[in-house]
Symmetry: C2
Subunit: 213 residues, 2 copies
């Protein structure tokens, strides 16, 4: 009678193992503080020993860098696809926003990891990657907002940078609520309501309100 030994892991090419590791991290971050995601935990989820992990990544930060690339590619591809499908710029913004919220609901670890990276003090490649994602995202927002202003859909005095910052803030605000309540259905439900106020602020224009207060 053989003892049911823990099976030895199958040999896989390094590319595939790296992809596995990145996905393991994304999944782990859904329920764990990113700082607590140890190389042992990653390896365990991959059903690998910890040492084997370092055959495919030179350092732990290289894993994080891979994760940030994963997030970047997926998120930007999604919002580009959604925004591209809309002709009206405001509809494109809304589609981007709701798509982003969906992405977070599908991968709840993502904002946690992003914040975790941005919090880091050193200048690691992973942090650079995270910052680049935010920059790329903001550029896309500014492009759409500028186009909308040029089309006359948004008022000529609209503060593009402030509008882009507020868009990102909306996401952050929903993420924080999500962190506190842990309810992604609620986040999805809140998203359109928050966006409605944002859109109203965009179309109203600054001068229209200055006189009011």
């Amino acid at each position: 009678m053989k003892t049911p030994m823990t099976q030895r892991a199958k040999h896989l090419p390094s590319d595939e193992r790296r992809a596995e590791a990145v996905e393991a991290v994304v999944e782990l971050a859904a329920s764990a503080n990113p700082e607590e995601i140890t190389t042992s935990a990653i390896a365990a989820r991959m059903k690998l020993t910890q040492g084997a992990l370092f055959r495919h990544f030179p350092t732990k930060d290289a894993i994080w860098q891979g994760v940030m690339e994963w997030v970047s590619e997926r998120l930007l591809a999604r919002i580009d696809r959604l925004a591209g499908a809309e002709s009206d710029p405001l509809a494109a913004l809304k589609a981007m926003f709701l798509g982003h919220v969906d992405f977070i609901a599908e991968h709840p670890g993502v904002p946690r990891m992003m914040v975790g990276q941005l919090q880091n003090t050193g200048e690691t490649p992973a942090k650079r990657m995270a910052r680049a994602l935010v920059e790329n995202y903001a550029n896309r927002l500014r492009r759409i907002l500028s186009a909308a202003r040029a089309e006359g859909v948004l008022p000529p005095d609209l503060d593009i940078d402030a509008a882009a910052a507020l868009f990102l803030g909306m996401i952050q605000g929903l993420v924080m609520q999500h962190l506190i309540h842990g309810d992604s259905a609620r986040m999805r439900a809140d998203a359109p309501r928050v966006f409605a106020i944002y859109r109203a602020g965009l179309v109203a224009g600054a001068t229209a309100v200055e006189g009011r207060t």
Copy 2:
């Protein structure tokens, strides 16, 4: 000639040492990832040995709890004072917002610590404290927003919860920009511009915009 030995720390009552420790953490968080703030680092900044720290706190999380109380008291007191000084609800909101941004500019470690606590998985007293702060803050926002709606300053169909969430999101968005650029002067400058869009969104009302898009 005496060697300049490191001076022995003065004996202080536990209350004062605890206050010192909390302030040391707040200062350290201004330039360090909260996860990297070790008890040794705290003690070093207090010019104390690490062991001495545990004479005044039973555990490290107790220190964090003290820090979160410090933040709670200071921040809520400030926004209450600022909001109370305004008769117009919209002016009160703006004063709260700019006061909050000032608070963050004065204590850049605060949002980092808050996020760090909310990221934690376990149910520590410090995390409860952080969550309580957010709840209290949101309650104050809802109260002011409701009052404004009742006064007719804001439209009757305004979504109070969404407006409160967006307010918190504005702060988060500025914090993220601050994390990325590390420029608190810029954050202070951006704050009123972002708030202008927010205010426009509030006063416009939902129905006024539905038809536009």
